[in-house]
């Protein structure tokens, strides 16, 4: 078997012809608590190295850990949001292994008594269908320190001469969420993996338990993957791919491992059960370390911590704090607002749902709120290089009330669309409220029909050929005349009214 290339791949289509994928996803989420899991050290991201550590998180002799109340509550809320059972009584356990980023030489985790278990998360896919991801468990544990590998190429662990460790992250509360083996995904496996992680991220954000920034590592995903020959029900040997730290990478890593497993199995080889490392830049996985004797973690109940036994009433109180699930909220809002699927997707991608929500609440029409936030304001935010529209709005002091006011000015007949855009320009430049800007810039539709009629007469006289076309029944030719009239009126006319007058004069 030594002739088989374990790093070769076959095409995705070839894999699907012969195999069914089975996935298991493990997601680690750093909780957004102020302090660590078992001590009062701060959890600030980006602090100077080794400035947020104490005897407890350094594992110094005699130090006594005490559980963070907020972390337990967050864990329970996450479990409830994932439709899990909540343990009435559970313990922490020591997971023993030697690795320099674990100063205690064990990680305090949970073993056979997770705080939450047996749940599910429904995931909406692009084709409108829903896939139910079964959740095996969600348990509490602590993060490890951060290593800087020195002496090798570009910070890689391979070839390093030594490593420098910062323990600021050691002890930050983590929740590990583990799915059951997901079967029957077929060709949609990569998409489902990505959609699951995205849905989970939105849910955790809505729960306000973590900042879920994959790029900063506060949410990390490990992908377990194996293939079964079509028709078989026996699970194949799996690999565990680590470091998959963006939604796009989750999708790519699943697909890549499917193609790699497929190549080995098709050539008659067998999969080595091992850890693989995902490389975002090259889009491939490389061999990490094989599962070995060293994975004998000798778990035992943590003697320094007492059991966690959340009273039923407390669990119910926490259940009452759960937000409406994001997917459900999106569907409700889309139907309330009457947006098309495409409009809703654009609004979601631009992160405008909350802004539009509060603007509608403040009295604007949904269409108006969408039009201005995703039109003029988003355009300016983009031109001015803002991170996102919401941040831009806060910086520029733009509130839903401004949108409501402007829509009122347009609906009341004072402004037309192009004037409204000029008003936004002023508002975004800090010249005041929409009304104040309109006043200051003298923006107001001419309501005097006499002036408008005079302008129409002038334009008709100046464009006899166009006018004749309209007389002959080519109504669309009136557009050119309307443009001329607007120019004559310096833009301060109601285009609809100009059209009415032109048609009345030429065809009436």
């Amino acid at each position: 078997m030594s002739s088989i290339d374990t790093e070769a791949t076959i095409s995705y289509e070839e894999v699907l012809e012969s195999f069914d994928p089975v996935m298991g996803l493990e997601v680690h989420v750093e909780l957004g608590t102020n302090t660590k899991m078992f001590c009062g050290c701060a959890t600030e991201f980006g602090a100077e190295p080794n400035t947020q550590v104490c005897p407890v998180c350094l594992g110094l002799p005699g130090a006594l850990p005490v559980v963070n109340e907020k972390a337990v509550e967050s864990a329970i809320r996450i479990g409830l949001a994932l439709n899990c059972e909540i343990a009435q009584w559970c313990r922490f356990a020591r997971k023993n292994y030697f690795y320099p980023d674990m100063p205690k030489n064990f990680q305090t985790s949970q073993y056979d008594e997770p705080i939450a278990f047996e749940g599910y998360l429904d995931v909406d896919l692009d084709d409108g269908s829903t896939y139910r991801v079964e959740i095996e468990r969600a348990h509490m544990e602590e993060d490890t320190g951060k290593s800087l590998h020195v002496g090798g190429s570009t910070g890689r662990i391979h070839g390093a001469t030594h490593s420098l460790v910062d323990y600021n992250r050691a002890g930050i509360p983590l929740i590990e969420i583990v799915t059951k083996p997901l079967r029957g995904a077929g060709e949609r496996a990569p998409e489902i993996a990505r959609a699951y992680v995205a849905t989970l991220r939105d849910l955790l954000k809505a729960l306000d338990v973590s900042d879920v920034k994959m790029e900063q590592g506060s949410m990390r995903c490990d992908v377990n993957l194996s293939l079964m020959p079509k028709g078989s029900t026996t699970l194949g040997t799996r690999t565990e791919t680590k470091n998959v730290n963006s939604l796009r990478s989750v999708e790519r890593a699943v697909r890549y491992e499917m193609c790699r497993h497929g190549a080995i199995l098709q050539a008659g080889g067998s999969i080595l059960q091992e850890t693989r490392h995902w490389h975002e830049d090259t889009g491939v996985t490389t061999s990490g370390r094989p599962k070995s004797d060293a994975d004998d973690y000798r778990y035992f109940p943590e003697p320094d911590l007492v059991p966690v036994a959340p009273p039923q009433e407390r669990v119910e109180e926490l259940r009452a704090t759960l937000p409406e699930p994001p997917a459900q909220r999106r569907k409700r809002l889309q139907s309330d607002w009457g947006f098309s699927d495409l409009e809703m997707r654009d609004v979601l991608n631009a992160g405008l749902v909350d802004l539009i929500g509060s603007t509608v609440e403040a009295g604007a029409t949904p269409a108006g709120a969408r039009k201005w936030w995703s039109g003029e304001i988003a355009r300016r935010a983009n031109t001015d290089g803002a991170v996102d529209v919401a941040t831009y709005a806060v910086e520029r002091g733009i509130t839903p009330a401004h949108v409501v006011e402007l829509e009122g000015l347009v609906k009341g007949g004072r402004l037309n669309d192009s004037m409204a855009r000029q008003v936004w320009e002023g508002v975004l430049d800090g010249e005041g409220t929409p009304t104040a800007v309109a006043d200051a810039r003298g923006l107001e539709l001419v309501q005097d029909d006499g002036a408008l009629e005079a302008a129409v007469d002038t334009v008709i006289a100046a464009n006899p050929e166009v006018a004749q076309k309209v007389r002959d029944g080519k109504v669309q030719a009136a557009g050119a005349l309307i443009g001329q009239v607007m120019k004559e009126m310096k833009g301060q006319a109601d285009a609809g009214k100009a059209r009415e007058i032109i048609l009345a004069k030429l065809t009436g």
Binding site: T33, C39, A71, D293
Partner: protein
């Protein structure tokens, strides 16, 4: 209880990162065997209906509020480190290169 084998001891020594010579391994198989035998007496205790205990105190839910307390100063943290660099603990390379 199954007899402790030489392989068991070698495995445990590996997990604990203790380098034992062949002579030491032989010696430990005997000594650890005696220790296990001695401790095995507790297996004779009547445990019918007794829940396993992981903590001597019958208490649950000892927690602290999520309030920041001062950490140690970085120089104090690193004072006990055999080697430090860039305000970090310097440790030997992690992967054995083959």
């Amino acid at each position: 209880m199954a007899e402790l084998t030489r392989d068991d001891v070698a495995h445990l020594a590996g997990l604990a990162r203790i380098d034992l010579s062949d002579a030491e391994l032989d010696k430990m198989v005997g000594e650890l065997g005696i220790i296990l035998e001695s401790v095995a007496v507790v297996q004779q205790a009547p445990i019918e209906g007794v829940e396993p205990m992981s903590h001597p105190m019958p208490i649950v839910n000892v927690t602290r509020p999520d309030v920041v307390r001062p950490s140690l100063a970085a120089d104090a943290v690193l004072a006990g480190a055999p080697a430090a660099d860039q305000q970090r603990f310097s440790v030997p390379r992690i992967l054995d290169e083959d």
